[in-house]
C-alpha cells in the first residue's frame, strides 16, 4: 500500500524531535529532570500511537514491502534511501515502540543522575532501532544497526553498575568484531550486485562460493547479537551492569536484531549457504539451549540467571529459523516477539526488587510474596510464560519451533525439547528462592508493595502475553506472507542445488 506520506521516515525520526525538545529544556535541576522525563514519555508514547496507526493500515495479506519510501542519499550509484516494512519487520517495529515508553517509565525513579542525557540516549536508541527494522537499503541498515551500539554503550557505561566499564567494553568489543566482517561482506555485495537495495539483493543470485563467505561474515555479526553460543558471554555482563530499562531494551529488542538479520539477509540472499550451514547452526543452538540452561542453574545473581535464560530462549529462535519450515520460522518469529515481552517484564521484575533492596543476589531475598503479593502474581505469570506454559505467548513460539525442528531431525527436536525441562527447573528455582518462603530479613519484610507506575508497566505486558497465548492468530497471519516469500527463496535455491 502506497501512502503519500513518508510515514516510516516520520515514525523513525519522531523520537529525534524529542531530542530537540530535551536539548531545549531550561531551568534549574529539578525542572530539567521532571521535564526530561515527561518529554521522553510523551514523545515515545506518541511514537507508539503512530506505530499503531501504521499497524492498522498494514495489510497482512500482502507479501511484499509496504509503506515504501525512497529518497536520494549519498549521491552514489545504487546507494539509496529506502524504507519499508513487511510481515517480518512490522511486529518488531511495534514491539520497539511499545517497550520504549515502558522502559522510560521503568527508569522514572531509579535514574536520578544526568536524566536529560539519559533520555536523549533512549530517544536516539528508539530512532535507531525503528530504523534498523525499517531500512531497506543495506548501507542504511548497516548505519542503524551499528549505531544502536552507541547509545546502548553509553547507557551501560554511564548509568550502569559497579563493573559497568568492563561490561560495556566487552559488549562493544564483541559486537564490533562481528560487524567489521559484515561491512567487508557488504562492500563485496555492493560491488558485485551493483546495488545496495535490499529487495533487489534478495533477488540477486550470488554464486555458491561467494554465498559461503558472505554467509559467514553476516553470521559473525548476527550470531553475536542473538547471541549464540559461544559468543554469548558479553550478554550476562552487559545485563548485570545495565540499568533496568537498558536491560529491558537489550533483551527485548537488541537481541532480536540478530534473528531479524538472519531472516532479512542470510536466508533470502544466501539460501544455499544457509542450507549448507544449517547443521552448524543447529549444533551451536542446541548447545546454547542445554549449556546455558545448566549455567543458569548455577547463578546466584537474578539478572545473570535471566540473561542466561535469554541465551537459551534465543537458541530456540535460531533453530526455528534454520529449520526452514513454515512452522519453524513462524515459531522463531513468535518466540522473538514473545521473548521481547516476557524478558522485558522479567528484567523489570528484577528491577522492581532491586530498587527496594539494592541487590540482585538471590539469597538476599526470600518471602517477597508476603510484602508484595501483586508483584508475586505478575512475576509468577511471566515466569510461567518464560517456561512456555500453554495459554501464554511463550508456548506458541517454542512449540512451533519444535514442530519445525522435528521435521528437520528428530534428534534436534529431542535435544531442544530438553530445554523445556531445564527451563522450568531454573525459573521455578529462582521464583521459589525469591518469592516463596517466610520473609525473615527485615529489609524484605519492609519492602513496599507495587506502586501504580510499576503496575502500569506490568499490565500491558501481561495482557499481551496472555492474548498472544490464547489468540496468536493475528500475529501469525501477519508474518505468514513474508515467511512464504523467504521459503520461496530457499526452495528455489534447493531446486538449483538439485539440478546442479
Amino acid at each position: 500500500m502506497e501512502t503519500t506520506w513518508p510515514i516510516l521516515t516520520i515514525l523513525t525520526f519522531l523520537p529525534m524531535i524529542g531530542v530537540v525538545f530535551l536539548l531545549l529544556i531550561r531551568g534549574d535541576d529539578d525542572v530539567v529532570i521532571r521535564n526530561s522525563r515527561n518529554v521522553a514519555l510523551w514523545v515515545s508514547g506518541f511514537t507508539f500511537v503512530m506505530s499503531l496507526f501504521v499497524l492498522f493500515n498494514f495489510d497482512p495479506a500482502v507479501a511484499g514491502y509496504q509503506f515504501e519510501d525512497r529518497g536520494i542519499w549519498l549521491a552514489l550509484d545504487g546507494i539509496g534511501y529506502h524504507m519499508g516494512v513487511d510481515g517480518i519487520s512490522m511486529p518488531f517495529v511495534v514491539l520497539t515502540t511499545l517497550l520504549t515508553p515502558l522502559a522510560i517509565l521503568a527508569s522514572w525513579k531509579s535514574v536520578t543522575l544526568r536524566v536529560r542525557e539519559y533520555m536523549i540516549a533512549f530517544m536516539l536508541l528508539e530512532t535507531l532501532m525503528i530504523g534498523t527494522f525499517c531500512a531497506l537499503d543495506m548501507v542504511l541498515f548497516y548505519l542503524f544497526f551499528e549505531a544502536v551500539l552507541i547509545p546502548m554503550f553509553l547507557i551501560i557505561g554511564i548509568w550502569g553498575g559497579m563493573r559497568r566499564v568492563y561490561a560495556s567494553f566487552k559488549f562493544f568489543l564483541y559486537t564490533l568484531a562481528g560487524s567489521v566482517l559484515m561491512l567487508v561482506a557488504m562492500l563485496y555485495m555492493a560491488t558485485t550486485a551493483q546495488t545496495t537495495d535490499i529487495p533487489l539483493l534478495q533477488e540477486f543470485a550470488f554464486s555458491p562460493a561467494a554465498q559461503t563467505w558472505l554467509f559467514l561474515a553476516f553470521f559473525a555479526s548476527f550470531a553475536v547479537k542473538v547471541p549464540m553460543w559461544p559468543v554469548h558471554t558479553w550478554l550476562p555482563d552487559a545485563h548485570v551492569e545495565a540499568p533496568t530499562a537498558g536491560s529491558m531494551i537489550l533483551a527485548g529488542i537488541l537481541l532480536k536484531m540478530g534473528g531479524y538479520g538472519f531472516l532479512r539477509f542470510s536466508l533470502p540472499m544466501f539460501p544455499e549457504a544457509s542450507v549448507y550451514f544449517a547443521p552448524m547452526i543447529f549444533s551451536l543452538s542446541v548447545v546454547a539451549v542445554i549449556y546455558t540452561s545448566l549455567v543458569a542453574l548455577a547463578q546466584t545473581d537474578m539478572k545473570k540467571m535471566i540473561a542466561y535464560s535469554s541465551v537459551a530462549h534465543m537458541g530456540f529462535v535460531t533453530i526455528g529459523i534454520f529449520t526452514m519450515t513454515e512452522q519453524g520460522i513462524a515459531g522463531a518469529m513468535f518466540q522473538m516477539i514473545s521473548h521481547g515481552l516476557v524478558s522485558a517484564a522479567l528484567f523489570f521484575a528484577v528491577g522492581v526488587v532491586y530498587d527496594r533492596l539494592h541487590t540482585r543476589e538471590i539469597d538476599a531475598y526470600g518471602g517477597v510474596a508476603d510484602s508484595m503479593p501483586r508483584y508475586a502474581a505478575f512475576f509468577m505469570l511471566m515466569m510461567l510464560a518464560s517456561v512456555g506454559l500453554p495459554g501464554t505467548s511463550g508456548f506458541v513460539g517454542e512449540f512451533l519451533v519444535l514442530v519445525g525442528a522435528w521435521q528437520s531431525s528428530t534428534l534436534l527436536a529431542f535435544l531442544t525439547a530438553t530445554g523445556l525441562i531445564l527451563g522450568a527447573t531454573y525459573m521455578l528455582w529462582l521464583y521459589r528462592r525469591v518469592v516463596f518462603g517466610r520473609a525473615e530479613k527485615e529489609e524484605v519484610i519492609a519492602m513496599t508493595p507495587l506502586e501504580g507506575r510499576e503496575m502500569l508497566i506490568f499490565a500491558p505486558l501481561t495482557v499481551l502475553v496472555l492474548w498472544y497465548g490464547i489468540f496468536p492468530g493475528g500475529l501469525l497471519d501477519t508474518m505468514q506472507p513474508a515467511i512464504a516469500t523467504i521459503l520461496g527463496h530457499v526452495a528455489d535455491a534447493a531446486d538449483a542445488m538439485g539440478t546442479q
Binding site: Y174, A298, A330, P390, T425, P472, G473
Partner: protein, 643 residues
C-alpha cells in the same frame, strides 16, 4: 451447555481472584462455589440427557494456532468419555470446594485458595473436553500449574514449595514425552485433531518412522511418547516421586487433584487414545506392565509409612496402576469404571483424613493418633466406608470396579495379563492391610496424642461433613449403579465410538466368564489383609516392630521408598547443578572469556606495552634499529633483483 460447564469454573476463579485482592472472603466463596455448583448440575444434566442416549457434540470456540499445515483449534468435544470425566471432576470438585470453606477457615488467604481450586477445575475440564492433542496439552499443563500453586499454597513452608517445584519439574519430564508424541503424530498424519488421527491410525499400523536415527514402528513410537506424559501426570513407576511429596498441599487439594481427578488424567488419555493405541500392541503391553508394577510397588511403600496422607497417596499411586493395566489389556471401560468409583472413595478417604487432621490440631503422623473413634464417630464411619470401598468388599464401589479389572486382566489370556493379575492380587492384599492399619492406628488403641490435643478433638462442622456424606454415597453406590452402564454386557452401547476395542482384544468380553476362584481371589486376600492388620495393630501390638526387625533390609527398602528419590538426586539433580557450575566457571569464564574478549584485550595491552618499551628515547637505540632495517631492506632488495 458444554461451554458453560467448562467456563463457569474459570469465571469463578477470576471472581475469587478479584475478591482475593479485595480481601473479601465471603465474595470469594460465593463466586467460586456458585460457579462449580452450577457446573456440576449442568454436567449431570448433560450426562443424563446427552451421554446416556448417546449424543455426541463438538463445540468450536476459536482458532488457536495456524501455521502452514499445523492447525489447532479451541474446541470442546463431548462424548461418553468426556461425560464421565465431567461428572467425576465437577462433583468431586464441588464437594471439595464446599469442604474447603470449613477446612481453610483458619487460613487468611481463603479467596486465593478458592481461585486456585476453580482454576484447576477449569484446566481439568479443558483437558477432558479437548478435541485435539494440543488443547489437551493446554489442560495437561494447566492442571500442572494449578497443582503447583496448590501444593505450594502454604508458601511459607520450605517443604511445601520444594514439593510444588518437584511436582512441576517431574511432570515436565512427562510433558517432554507428551510434546514429542504430538510432534511424532503431526509428522505422521499432518494433523493433531483427534478424529483425523484416529481415522488414519489403521493405515499407520504397519508403518515405521525414523526416530533418533532408528527405524521404529510409527504408532508404537507415538504411543510410547504420549504414555511417558501419562506416567508423569499419573505418577507411575519412575515418575511417581512427586505424588507423595505433593501431600504438603492442604488436604482438600490432595483429595481433588492428587486422588480423584488430575492424577487420573493419564488414564483418561490412554482411554481417549484407544482408537490409536489399539494398533500399538507393544505399547499396550508396556502400559500393562508399568501399571502392574506400580500397583505392587506403591503398595509395598504404603504399608510402612506413618504419615496418614502419604499412606493414602501411595494407595492412590497403586490404584492408578490398576487402571493402567486395565487399559493395557484393552479393558478401557473397566479402567474408566475404576477411575470413577476410585474418585469417590479416595476423595472420601482424603477428606476423612483431613477431618481427622483438623480434629487433631493438624497432626498427620499416625504414631501420634489413636483412640479417637468415639470422639469423632461420623468421620470414623466415613473412613470405614472409604476403606471398605477401596479394599473391594462386596457391594461397595471398589468391589465392582476392581474385580472387573482383575478379571479382565486374567481374561486377556496372555502373559502380560496374567502377570498383572498376580501382582494385582498381591497389591489387593497389601491394600486391605494398609487400609485397616490406617484405621486401627488412627482411631483405635490408646490415644498417643498429647492431652492438650486430645481435649480439642471435635467433630468437623457441617460444611465439612456434608461433602463427606455425599462422597460416601458415591463410594457405596456408584459401583452398583454404574456397573451395567459402564461394563455390563452392553457396555458398547454407552461408550459408543469414544472407545475402540479391536475384535481380537477380548479381555473385556471374556471378563464376565472367568473361573470362580479368579473371581473370589480378591475377596479372599482382602479378608486376609484385614485379619493380618487386626492381628498386628489390635491383637498383638508388638508385632509390627518385631516383623520390621526380622525383615530389616526389606523394611528399610520399603520404608525409604526404594530409595528412588536418593537415586535421582545422585544421578540427575546433583550432577546437573555441578555441570552447570562447571560450564560456567570453566566454559564461560575459563575458556570463552579467557581466550575471547579478556584474552584479546590482554594481548593488545601486552603488545602495546611491548611497543611502548621500544620507545626508549635513546638515540643509539633508534640508530641501531634503523641500521637493522636498512640492512634487511638492502638484503631483500638484492635478493629480489638477483633472484
Amino acid at each position: 451447555m458444554i461451554t458453560a460447564i467448562v467456563f463457569l469454573p474459570l469465571l469463578g476463579a477470576i471472581g475469587a481472584g478479584i475478591f482475593s485482592l479485595m480481601k473479601n472472603d465471603r465474595g470469594g466463596f460465593i463466586v467460586s462455589i456458585g460457579g462449580i455448583m452450577l457446573s456440576m448440575v449442568l454436567s449431570w444434566v448433560a450426562f443424563i440427557t446427552m451421554a446416556v442416549p448417546g449424543i455426541n457434540e463438538t463445540v468450536f470456540l476459536a482458532k488457536w494456532i495456524s501455521s502452514g499445515g499445523f492447525e489447532v483449534d479451541w474446541a470442546l468435544r463431548y462424548d461418553a468419555l468426556t461425560a464421565v470425566m465431567m461428572i467425576v471432576v465437577t462433583t468431586v470438585s464441588a464437594m471439595v470446594h464446599l469442604y474447603s470453606v470449613g477446612y481453610m477457615s483458619h487460613d487468611n488467604a481463603k479467596p486465593r485458595f478458592m481461585a486456585y481450586l476453580s482454576l484447576f477445575t477449569f484446566a481439568m475440564l479443558m483437558l477432558v473436553t479437548a478435541d485435539n492433542l494440543v488443547q489437551m496439552f493446554f489442560g495437561w499443563e494447566g492442571v500442572g500449574v494449578a497443582s503447583y500453586l496448590l501444593i505450594g499454597f502454604w508458601y511459607h513452608r520450605p517443604s511445601a514449595h520444594e514439593a510444588a517445584m518437584k511436582a512441576f519439574v517431574v511432570n515436565r519430564v512427562g510433558d517432554f514425552g507428551y510434546a514429542l508424541g504430538i510432534f511424532a503424530i503431526f509428522a505422521m498424519t499432518g494433523s493433531v485433531q483427534l478424529d483425523e488421527i484416529f481415522a488414519m491410525a489403521p493405515d499407520l499400523a504397519g508403518r515405521s518412522i525414523e526416530f533418533l536415527s532408528f527405524e521404529v514402528p510409527a504408532l508404537e513410537l507415538a504411543g510410547m511418547l504420549l504414555f511417558i506424559g501419562a506416567m508423569g501426570k499419573s505418577a507411575q513407576l519412575g515418575l511417581h516421586t512427586w505424588l507423595p511429596d505433593a501431600m504438603e498441599g492442604p488436604t482438600p487439594v490432595s483429595a481433588l487433584i492428587h486422588a480423584a481427578t488430575m492424577v487420573t488424567a493419564g488414564v483418561f488419555m490412554v482411554c481417549r487414545l484407544s482408537p490409536m493405541l489399539e494398533f500399538a500392541p507393544f505399547t499396550l503391553d508396556f502400559i500393562t506392565i508399568v501399571g502392574a508394577l506400580t500397583a505392587i510397588f506403591a503398595a509395598t511403600i504404603g504399608f510402612t509409612q506413618f504419615d496418614i496422607k502419604r499412606v493414602i497417596a501411595y494407595s492412590t499411586c497403586s490404584q492408578l496402576g490398576y487402571m493402567f493395566f486395565a487399559a493395557g489389556v484393552s479393558a478401557y471401560p473397566a479402567a474408566m469404571f475404576h477411575l470413577t468409583t476410585h474418585a469417590f472413595f479416595k476423595a472420601l478417604l482424603f477428606l476423612g483424613a483431613g477431618s481427622v487432621i483438623h480434629a487433631l490440631s493438624d497432626e498427620q503422623d499416625m504414631r501420634r493418633m489413636g483412640g479417637v473413634w468415639k470422639k469423632i464417630p461420623f468421620t470414623y464411619s466415613m473412613m470405614w466406608i472409604g476403606s471398605l470401598a477401596l479394599a473391594g468388599f462386596p457391594f461397595f464401589a471398589g468391589y465392582f470396579s476392581k474385580d472387573m479389572i482383575l478379571e479382565a486382566a486374567w481374561a486377556q489370556h496372555r502373559f502380560t495379563g496374567e502377570f498383572a493379575y498376580i501382582l494385582g492380587i498381591m497389591a489387593a492384599f497389601l491394600t486391605a492391610f494398609y487400609s485397616w492399619r490406617l484405621l486401627f492406628m488412627t482411631f483405635h488403641g490408646k490415644p498417643r496424642a498429647s492431652d492438650e490435643v486430645m481435649s480439642h478433638v471435635h467433630e468437623s462442622p457441617l460444611v465439612m461433613t456434608i461433602p463427606l456424606f455425599v462422597l460416601a454415597i458415591g463410594a457405596v453406590f456408584s459401583g452398583f449403579l454404574l456397573y451395567d452402564l459402564f461394563v455390563g454386557h452392553h457396555w458398547n452401547d454407552f461408550w459408543g465410538n469414544s472407545i475402540l476395542i479391536l475384535p481380537e482384544h477380548t479381555a473385556m468380553a471374556d471378563a464376565h466368564h472367568v473361573p470362580k476362584i479368579i473371581k473370589l481371589m480378591p475377596l479372599i486376600v482382602g479378608v486376609a489383609g484385614v485379619t493380618l492388620a487386626w492381628l498386628f495393630y489390635i491383637a498383638v501390638p508388638g508385632m509390627p516392630a518385631l516383623v520390621a526387625r526380622v525383615f530389616k533390609p526389606l523394611h528399610l527398602l520399603f520404608f525409604n521408598k526404594w530409595f528412588v528419590d536418593e537415586l535421582y538426586d545422585a544421578l540427575l539433580v546433583r550432577p546437573s547443578v555441578r555441570l552447570g557450575r562447571l560450564f560456567w566457571s570453566r566454559g564461560d569464564i575459563g575458556i570463552i572469556d579467557a581466550f575471547g574478549p579478556n584474552g584479546m584485550s590482554a594481548l593488545v595491552s601486552r603488545f602495546s606495552v611491548l611497543c611502548s618499551r621500544m620507545q626508549t628515547g635513546y638515540v643509539f637505540h633508534y640508530a641501531f634499529a634503523m641500521l637493522i632495517g636498512v640492512v634487511a631492506l638492502v638484503a631483500w632488495y638484492a635478493r629480489t633483483i638477483g633472484g
